[in-house]
């Protein structure tokens, strides 16, 4: 499939470049590179793009976000709830734990209504670990507990794909897109999102549905904000992370 830019979109792109170049020509070019590369990815969406019944997708640089929100999340989407366990939310007193549980519950309701796969990931800690298997801390938080039929994947590393059946389960369900939530932002959420991209999935990271705790250098709020900014647009080949709040996520 060939991707064409309209004259108006090219003009907007030139305007964006000119505006940013006033302060930084390097970043101006980087932005143009990023926007045009993202548009090239549309050409490799294959079956999803075919639903538009057009050989040419018409895009506008200034409106790309609006098109993306409406079009990219589809029937091959699953909700991933990573490590939302008692030991992290209550034991570590994760940042804004209450609010994050509320956002995840909203997403669970949307996914259940749309009959989309919901996959919980549960970290197995060793003896003495706050998430030691079988202890209270290891339990998935009761306020977002799985229903009958929801899948639970148990893992022992930050990467939810590492030595687990996650990829096989996603393939069995035809999942191509993951909506990622959970704990902890800079470990399991970040690592799983990045690995998913490398494995050929598209990812929506829900900006207000993942959390962590303060470390020696940064507050939890800073870590979350940093990852939301850093991962938005993170890509490999045609696959990329999109960051958006729970209220904007559709299934």
């Amino acid at each position: 499939m060939k991707v064409h830019w309209t004259d108006l979109a090219v003009k907007h792109l030139a305007d964006i470049h000119e505006y940013i170049a006033r302060t930084s020509p390097t970043y101006a070019l980087r932005m143009v590179d990023r926007l045009t590369r993202r548009s090239q990815h549309i050409g490799s969406f294959g079956t999803r793009a075919e639903s538009f019944q057009e050989r040419t997708i018409r895009i506008c640089a200034r409106c790309s976000k609006d098109h993306r929100n409406k079009g990219m999340v589809g029937e091959d989407t699953a909700l991933l709830v990573i490590d939302v366990q008692v030991g992290i939310i209550e034991g570590f007193r994760a940042h804004c734990g209450r609010e994050v549980l509320d956002q995840i519950n909203k997403l669970l309701a949307k996914a259940r209504t749309a009959n989309k796969p919901i996959i919980y990931v549960q970290h197995d800690g060793e003896a003495g670990h706050p998430l030691e298997v079988g202890t209270e801390g290891w339990r998935i938080h009761p306020e977002i507990k799985p229903n009958e039929g929801d899948l639970i994947i148990r893992k022992r590393a930050s990467d939810s794909f590492f030595e687990t059946t996650l990829q096989r389960e996603l393939e069995a369900r035809g999942v191509k897109h993951l909506t990622v939530t959970g704990c902890m932002t800079e470990y399991c959420v970040d690592t799983t999102a990045r690995r998913a991209i490398s494995l050929g999935y598209d990812v929506t990271l829900v900006s207000d549905a993942h959390t962590t705790i303060d470390n020696k250098l940064l507050t939890a709020a800073q870590i979350i904000a940093h990852h939301n900014a850093l991962l938005d647009g993170f890509d490999a080949g045609p696959h990329a992370v999109t960051v958006k709040p729970a209220d904007e996520v559709t299934f």
Binding site: H4, L8, A9, V10, H12, D33, S39, R58
Partner: protein, 61 residues
């Protein structure tokens, strides 16, 4: 005769979940206007391949 856009404008406002500022309305109108202008460009063949767009900025295809 120019088309009457009143109905379209009303529909645009009706489709907005909430309207809390005039800026929001102006943004929606701008988006709509831009999309229609882009579609008109496309229908008239005023487009170019993304590779050509990248070349304009000396970016590799």
């Amino acid at each position: 005769m120019e088309p009457d856009l009143k109905d379209e404008a009303k529909r645009l406002i009706d489709n907005m979940p909430r309207l809390t500022s005039w800026d929001e309305l102006m943004y929606e109108i701008y988006v709509r206007q831009t999309i229609e202008a882009g579609l008109a460009d496309s229908d008239a063949g005023r487009t170019e391949p993304v590779e050509v767009v990248r070349e304009r900025f000396n970016l590799p295809k």
